[in-house]
Amino acid sequence: MIRNFSKMALVVAVALSIGACAKPPVEALDAARAALDAAQAAEADRYVNDLYLAAADSFSLAQTEIETQNAKSAFTRNYDRAAALLAFVSETAATAQTQVAERKEAVRVANETLFTDVDAAIVSANDLMKKAPRGKDGAAALAQIRSDLDLVGPALEEARAAQAAGDFIRARDVAQSALDRVNGLIGELNTAIEAAGR
């Protein structure tokens, strides 16, 4: 009988120890929180807001899921769903961070091309200024164009400064505006040259 009682006690002990093995996914929780913070620091909420929102909401859900399980008896706790949610948070936050980096890089590279385009447009405009009627001929119109063209250089510098500071979107907007301006001036110069040739 004593032997049977010992066997039962052993079974209970094993069951208890198995139940006690279900521990909250603390490391996964910390990792997910760190991934989410890193994604936010990388401006994921600006560049890939949908991904960031999905990760942030899942993190809250995982936290409540952990406490829902903590509220249960030690024998019935199951953190599988919480662990799955936290894995999703870490993965999504990492993806968001990668996509932010990719998007930023894409804008940065496109900006470099844009800067080159503005430089080339300024050179073209300056060339056209040389071809345009000089001296008294159309001087007032040319002075206006010269004045506008001189303002594009500082605008491009402003765009480059924004690029250097990592504000790629502002850099793109300022450079695009400068390019539009120079192209407008090139149009005016071509018209003036054409008129002078008539």
Partner: protein
Amino acid sequence: MRPVTRLALYLAPVAILVAGVLLLGEKPPADLFEQSRKRLEAARAARAGDYAPSQFATAQEAWETALQSWREENRRIAAFRSFDTVAIRLAEAEGAAEAALDRARHVADSLRSATETQAAAARDLRGPLEQAASFFPVDFVDRRALLDAHTSLSLAESALEREDLWKAAASAARSLATYDSLTRIARERILPLVTSSSDWRARRDRLVRGRSGYAIVVDKAERELTLYENGKVVATHTVELGRRWIGDKRMEGDRATPEGLYRVTRKLGRGQTIYHRALLIDYPNEEDRRQFAQGKRNGTIPAGARIGGNIEIHGGGGRDADWTDGCVALPDRTMEAIFNRVPVGTPVLIAGSLTGKYPLVDPESDGTDR
């Protein structure tokens, strides 16, 4: 009864009691958590962090506090758990999240609406200002400020597109303020020109009505020279003026075309002018000298300045730009035709504007009558 069964029967009530204490207790507020979490999620999706930061922070803090309270309660034996504090915190979190959501939507709508309105107003001002910048002399409109306004408008449009509403609103406001300021400054300078147009029309009418012989009238704003014979228009031609043509000539070198009533004092034929043919007029006349002296007295004209002269109506024009140092230029053939008709002594009225039509102002609403 076997001893084991007996032992089990003794222990059963104790085990049930222990299990009851361990397992039975107040139901955890999981539903409330889910409810407030969803509110926070909605607020976050509405960018409450950007548009209602304090309300959103309050909601998040209350939610975190509720979670922490729940965590602490979970450490107690089930029978001794109480979720009253948790429920209070959750109610606070939900209320704050709701407020954050409402506020965020309101702020975002206001910013979007303000940006759209201001950008539209800026675009409305942009066209006439561009027109004014090309119509008037180069320094009439501050071109650096104009470019800055263009850039700000582009930034606003781009930020609005990507829903970066604070930046969009700030850029649109800056753009509109700059355009508005430039428009106001330009209008202040233009309005006197517009209002003086009725005086110019009166002077023209006095000059040409019932007059026998020729008279020349130049409308600077319209770039138009009209030749009258016996009070009737016989020809109208496009002219080019001084580089800083707007306003009266004040001194030598200002490159303005003078305004007032003059007379042809000399005709310069072939070989006497580099501009094909020329009609020299009597600038400076009496009135010009009086104004020049007054300007020197009140310091608006530098002490060492000279009044200038040699203002002509001459050839060499047709360049589609204002390029002279103050003269009125016509294409050679046109100039020759006028030269051949008008004698020395012909009156020449050079008017700022006979129509009052300038960019940025509406003559109809500025009280001038045509």
